[in-house]
Structure formats: structure tokens, C-alpha cells
Symmetry: C2
Subunit: 296 residues, 2 copies
């Protein structure tokens, strides 16, 4: 049995607990969260403010805290010999995170699985496989329709925004429309907020539509989609066509991939890895022979 | 540079040469084929009847000979320390092949990458990834429309068949229709051949239609398709929907995956592996940092 603790108890943390519960080869040994947090987890395991206070030392911690906190949060665990799984999604900085956590993991004899989840993560594996299939060509990743966590957070950071939701609509070939629903604080001007939002680098390059709403919560749906398309060349043969499509509950998929990644941690040499750097079989529960017989 | 030789010079062999030519990190050092073969390869490298007669010892041989010959063909190379790549496609015996070639590879200090190509091979990676995404559920692999090499060979083996082609039509949820085009030898009864064919285990379980044809070659098209569908459960969330679709030139894709697998051979410890047992990044040409930055 693999002993797992989770760090953070938001949407992803709750879904991770469900996925651990559904796995037969691992056990939740605790939830680690700030003592000051207002949420009281509904769990049957110890809730502590630091890992040292858990009765059972975890083999792996699954980090369900915001991306920007990951480098600082992960490092101390890795140095203590506890492996980490994150769903760090700032694409431009993944290599740097991997370098930093790799150094800590090698020092602590642990493993960091970085940028797991659905994108980066599962989609990254698909993108790599499509380049194996057709090394020359172009892949387009189309997101949605669905709520974008990153874009929603960017809208909420604008002065005068009480609540908001940003929905991503795929227009094909990697081009996206943004539908932004905003509930302003009293006394703030909706048109002014819209102007600020449209100038924000998160939105300035995309077709963006902004709507005034008074009950954002009633609009929410964590369903999401990805459509990945590649047309390319195998050897000297052009027009090889590939398409991957998924329609999923976003936190449930992200959490499931993170839990599978916790399993894979125990099968790698100390260091940091992204999902394209580990064998798929290491993510699966069960015997190697059974997987090869069923899946190959 | 990785030195590669190919064994066999049929459709796949020719496509492998094209894919090696398109890769910047490897070089074709020879073609190995029976001295008695009637085909004379149009290549600028030595054509020999055994590997010892090549001026340059290859690091990897890509086996482009029929599946049933693979166990006997691969073993001597592996024992000599030369890695092998095959596209062995008898699904029920892949684990046994992996065991047998694994023993030889460990003895010779070489690597066998078994059952590469598009299915088994690329599709196996997709099937594994979909179980990572949703461990509970069912995956359907739908083949076609396109010519099935295995089924075509089975028809040609029936007495009285001069030439034939078996086309696979996907009916969804893993159910297939077979369209079989037959050119009989003179004096043979088409209805008798049809009866024998419909009783053959290759066809007896599927909806099979048999047609009399007089010019099979004019019907041939090596285009093929796969549609892989999974509906399953991530954690405790049902109705997660996944679909992978490709429309491809079959020999070109098979050959491209085999050539990528030759590259991956040099990155594994001695032994035998299927594609779900190696990291995707090992199959790609170029630097780790570049791949992580672009694909993750």
C-alpha cells in the first residue's frame, strides 16, 4: 500500500480524495492545510498543519494548492524524502520547475512528478505521441467549451469584480473565443471593468465578449473539453490525420491523473519528471503482465 | 548517429528506409535479406544475407519480416548485442514474445522493442493513457475503413484463391464488418471458397460479405483508420468521454513508429519492452529540454 497525504482542500483536493478512495493500492493518511483555513475537511483522517504532525509518514504528497505556490511548497517535502505530485500549469515555467524540484528530489532521494493533470499532463502525452506518429507537421490544442480556472482568476483580480466566470470556446486551429460573465461590486462601472479586462494580456489577443450577470454561481459547470488535432508527415508520406477529443469533469480528471502519478513516483529513480518522461504502465494499478496482455 | 539495418524489404521495409532518411539522428547501414529473394532493393547501402557481412555493425535492426518469423529472427541479433525493433501483431502472444526476447536481450546486453507500429504500438499507448484518465470503464477499438493485412493473408491461404483483399469496416463499439474481394484461380468454385472463408475463425464471428473480382490490384489502397473510444469513471465521477481518431497511410505510420522505437532502444536498460513500458520522450528526436518546453 502506498501512503498518500494531500496538501490543500479545494475542488482538486476533494476530487483527489475520491480517486484515492477508488484505488485499491493506496491509502489516504492525512490532509495538510493551513491552521487558519476556514474550511473544515469532512474526512476520517488526521487534518494537520504540517506533515511532521501526521501519525503516518506519507510516501507521496499530492499538492492541491495553487500553481504559483508549488515551487516553495514542494521543495521541503522532496528534501525530506517525500515524493510530490503537482498539477503546475504555468506552461512557460515547467522546465524551470522541473530543474528546481529535480535538484531537491535528488538530494532527498525522492521523486517529483511535475505538471501532471489534463493539460499539461495527459494532453502532453498525446502531443508527444502524435510527434512520434508524424514528426513533421503541426498540432493544434483546442480547449473547451468549458470554464477556464486561470482566466476566471484573472478576471476576479480586476478591481470592482465581485464574482466572475470565464468560459473558453474553441474556434479550431488553436484559436479561442472567451465569454466572460461578471458580477460587479456595488458602485463599480461595468464598462470600465470591461475595458480593463480587454486590455489584460490574458484576454487581449483573443475574441472576448463580456456580459453583466447577477448570479455567477448559478452558471457554473466544471465540465470541460479538449480537441487535439495534428496533420503531418510519417517518413515521406504527407496528410496523416490524427484527432483526440475529450469531454470531461475537469477536477475529477485532474485529480485522477494526479493520483495515478503518485503511483508512478515509486517506480522512478530520484529526480523530477514530466508525464512524457515516464512509461504509461507505471501510472496503472495492477500487474505488468496483465496490462501488456490487455492493452498492447 | 545511430546505425540502423533493416531486415526484409517489403512494403514496411521500404517505408522504414524513407523514415530513416527523414530522421537526422540515424543512418541506414544496410539491408539484410535472403539471398534467394527475387526483389532487388533500390538502395545505396550494402544488401547482404546476414548481418556479419555488413561493413558497419548496426546498433539496431528493424525487423520488417512477417510476425510469425519474429521470435526466431530477433533472438540471434539480441544475443549478439544488437537491439531489435519489431511490429509483431499477434496480440495474444505478445507477452510470450516479450518474455522470450527479454531473456535473449539481457544475455546479449541489448534491447528488444516489441509490438511497435500502430496497433499494437501507438494505439496501445492511447489505451493505457485512457485507463490512467478513467480506470473504470470500457474502451472500444474500431478499425478501418481500410485493408487488413492479417485478414487478407488468411483469405489468400484458402485453396483456389489467386488474389484477394479483405477490407475492415468499423460498425462502432468494437464490432466490424468484413468486405472480402476474391479473384479465384481458374477451375475453382467461388461459392465453395466463400463457404470455406465464412467458416474460418478470422471471419466466422463477424458480418462478412464476399465479392467476386477480376482485378484485385486495382482496388488496393493502404489507407487505414482507427477510432478508439472510452467512456469511464475518474475517481467517482462517471461519464468521462474520450475519443481518438486517425486516418493514415498504414505502412508509413507503422514504419515511422518503428524508426522512433529504434531511437528509444538506446535509452533503455537491457531487456524487452512494449511501447506502454517506455517514456514517450525517448521516441522523439532532439533535446529533452526542447521537448518538455514544447510539448508539456
Amino acid at each position: 500500500m502506498l501512503n498518500i497525504a494531500i496538501v490543500g482542500y479545494g475542488n482538486i483536493g476533494k476530487a483527489v480524495i475520491e480517486a484515492i478512495d477508488a484505488a485499491k493500492d493506496m491509502e489516504l493518511v492525512g490532509v495538510i492545510m493551513r491552521a487558519s483555513s476556514l474550511t473544515k475537511p469532512q474526512v476520517s483522517v488526521p487534518v494537520v498543519d504540517e506533515v511532521g504532525n501526521l501519525p503516518t509518514k506519507p510516501d507521496v504528497v499530492i499538492l492541491c494548492s495553487p500553481s504559483r505556490t508549488i515551487p516553495e511548497v514542494a521543495e521541503p517535502y522532496l528534501l525530506q524524502g517525500i515524493s510530490t505530485v503537482d498539477s503546475y500549469d504555468i506552461h512557460s515555467d515547467i522546465w524551470e520547475l522541473r530543474e528546481r524540484l529535480g535538484a531537491a528530489a535528488k538530494k532527498g532521494g525522492s521523486v517529483a512528478l511535475v505538471a501532471t493533470g489534463f493539460d499539461p499532463g495527459g494532453d502532453s502525452v498525446i502531443r508527444a505521441l502524435l510527434e512520434v506518429f508524424a514528426p513533421q507537421g503541426k498540432t493544434y490544442t483546442n480547449f473547451g467549451p468549458g470554464m477556464s480556472m486561470g482566466h476566471t482568476a484573472a478576471v476576479k483580480a480586476i478591481a470592482g469584480v465581485k464574482n466572475a466566470m470565464s468560459v473558453t470556446i474553441p474556434l479550431g486551429t488553436g484559436i479561442h473565443r472567451r465569454l466572460v460573465y461578471i458580477e460587479p461590486h456595488e458602485g463599480y462601472d461595468f464598462d470600465e471593468i470591461t475595458k480593463t479586462l480587454k486590455a489584460d494580456p490574458y484576454f487581449s489577443k483573443d475574441e472576448t465578449h463580456v456580459f453583466l450577470e447577477h448570479d455567477i454561481e448559478s452558471l457554473k459547470d466544471v465540465g470541460h473539453g479538449v480537441n487535439l488535432v495534428r496533420k503531418g508527415v510519417s517518413g515521406k508520406t504527407h496528410n496523416q490525420l490524427f484527432e483526440f477529443d475529450m469531454r470531461i469533469n475537469n477536477p475529477a480528471l485532474t485529480a485522477q491523473v494526479m493520483v495515478a502519478s503518485a503511483r508512478a513516483c515509486k517506480k522512478q529513480a530520484p529526480g523530477a519528471y514530466t508525464m512524457i518522461e515516464i512509461p504509461m504502465i507505471d501510472l496503472l494499478e495492477g500487474s505488468r503482465e496483465d496490462h501488456v496482455r490487455r492493452l498492447v
